[in-house]
């Protein structure tokens, strides 16, 4: 639920182009900062992206599924976490699950959760056990991600442009009204998704703390 399942041709061109540029710059910076990492980090990154894709096949009701983004963000950290968001969204777009042009925006939205997850987890871990710290970190990370999603929807409603921006050029539907309607329709699903994701993250972290504590930050 916390990434934008919107296909090509729905959002204004300037918005998805901006998303692509921001995602490319952030992923470029992250790649540069991690260029001297041990090579086995690359295989770990790919393996955790694959787990994320597998976790996305777990449905939460008819319109949502797990994202596993906070969990992978905690394990990989902000830089590699953002790259993981790009790889996952790139793979999903190729499989017809989301648009090719919105890969950048999806990466920014999912990446927001992954970048936030580890700092929040580390902060909470000082006082709490891994499971509880992970659950709260997941709530924080996904709230940031949902806020980014709402920002994208609000920007889409404000924009205007050529044929690509069908929705944005509708004069009878003011931007704030449309955004408010989107938030109203979506918020029950977000609450369910965030609670589910927090429970799953807590469970995975408790499991890893028992069987493989060396994997945790």
């Amino acid at each position: 639920m916390t990434h934008l399942h919107i296909a090509d041709g729905v959002l204004p061109i300037w918005l998805w182009l901006a998303g692509l540029v921001i995602a490319a710059v952030c992923a470029g910076v992250a790649s540069y900062r991690h260029r001297r990492d041990r090579p086995d980090r690359l295989t770990l990154l790919a393996a955790l992206c694959a787990v994320m894709l597998a976790a996305m096949s777990v449905p939460i009701g008819p319109l949502g599924h797990l994202s596993f983004a906070p969990m992978v963000g905690i394990l990989l950290g902000p830089g590699l976490g953002f790259v993981a968001a790009l790889l996952v969204n790139g793979t999903l777009a190729l499989l017809g699950h989301g648009g090719i042009t919105v890969v950048g925006l999806n990466t920014c939205i999912l990446g927001a959760a992954m970048v936030t997850a580890r700092p929040a987890y580390r902060l909470l871990r000082r006082r709490l056990a891994p499971g509880r710290a992970g659950a709260l970190a997941a709530v924080v990370a996904l709230t940031v991600s949902v806020a980014a999603l709402c920002l994208v929807v609000a920007l889409a409603a404000r924009g205007s442009g050529p044929a690509g921006a069908v929705l944005a050029s509708d004069p009878d539907l003011p931007g704030m009204k449309a955004t408010g309607r989107f938030v109203l329709f979506s918020s029950p699903f977000w609450v369910i998704a965030i609670v589910a994701e927090a429970l799953v993250t807590s469970s995975v972290l408790s499991f890893l703390a028992r069987v493989r504590p060396e994997l945790l930050p």
Binding site: S31, L173, A196
Partner: protein, 239 residues
């Protein structure tokens, strides 16, 4: 969903149609050309015709139409909330957006179902940092390796009452423990993969195949059809 996804790799690797024999680069050019018409077209008739043409191409490429169409439906299902919130009372806008979503998804599925992934990712790896290019290649590879195991794990969880539906918190905890096992399995697998790559003389680049740019007469079809799509778009709608 995972069953359909697992089939994509089989379609791409085992297929031998004319579309499969075209190079990855010409098929990517086809996707870029057709996608540009999808993004700029405001004609539901053009988009409906394009979707029908893509269905014909899927059949000609000997990719099963039902599962391919099903895969292309996922974004429509998930974006329904967004479309509902933006409905302006006319049928044209939802039809336009629906057809754009369906066409672009089917276009991506056609590409990925007819192009083996080493060929698909080799050109991307040439223009992206190593972490991203090789990461994409290894992610795709790892995903298809993991998907059967994930399916078996969900089945085992259901059979043993781990996902009984009697208590949602308990179900999510069980799902979490299952995913924890997948994380541990994937971590071990990634370490083994790295050891194998190291033994085979990994030099910093994984994706080095050159088939993606081996041009043949089969490349004419995607390039010509991409040109036809652009021509039709301008002929029907002008600039």
């Amino acid at each position: 969903m995972s069953h359909d996804l697992a089939l994509v790799d089989t379609w791409a690797s085992a297929g031998n149609s004319l579309w499969h024999r075209a190079s990855a680069l010409s098929k990517m050019a086809f996707v870029a050309l057709v996608l540009s018409t999808i993004l700029t077209s405001s004609s539901p008739a053009y988009l409906a015709g394009l979707y029908a043409a893509l269905c014909v191409l899927v059949v000609l490429a000997r990719v099963p139409l039902g599962p391919a169409v099903l895969l292309s439906l996922y974004p429509v299902l998930f974006s329904s909330l967004y479309l509902l919130s933006r409905w302006d009372g006319t049928w044209t806008t939802p039809a336009l957006l629906l057809l754009r979503s369906l066409s672009s998804s089917l276009l991506a599925v056609l590409l990925v179902a007819t192009t083996p992934y080493p060929d698909l990712f080799a050109p991307i790896a040439r223009v992206t940092p190593r972490l991203i290019g090789d990461g994409l290649f290894l992610t795709y590879r790892a995903f298809f390796g993991l998907i059967a195991r994930a399916d078996r794990m969900w089945t085992a969880l259901k059979l043993r009452g781990g996902l009984s539906g009697r208590g949602l918190p308990r179900d999510f905890r069980s799902a979490g423990e299952g995913l924890g096992q997948l994380v541990v399995h994937s971590y071990d697998r990634s370490q083994r993969l790295y050891a194998i790559m190291h033994i085979r003389g990994h030099s910093g680049r994984v994706c080095g195949c050159r088939h993606w740019a081996e041009f043949s007469p089969f490349d004419l079809a995607p390039l010509a059809l991409g040109g036809v799509a652009i021509g039709l778009r301008f002929w029907l709608e002008g600039r």
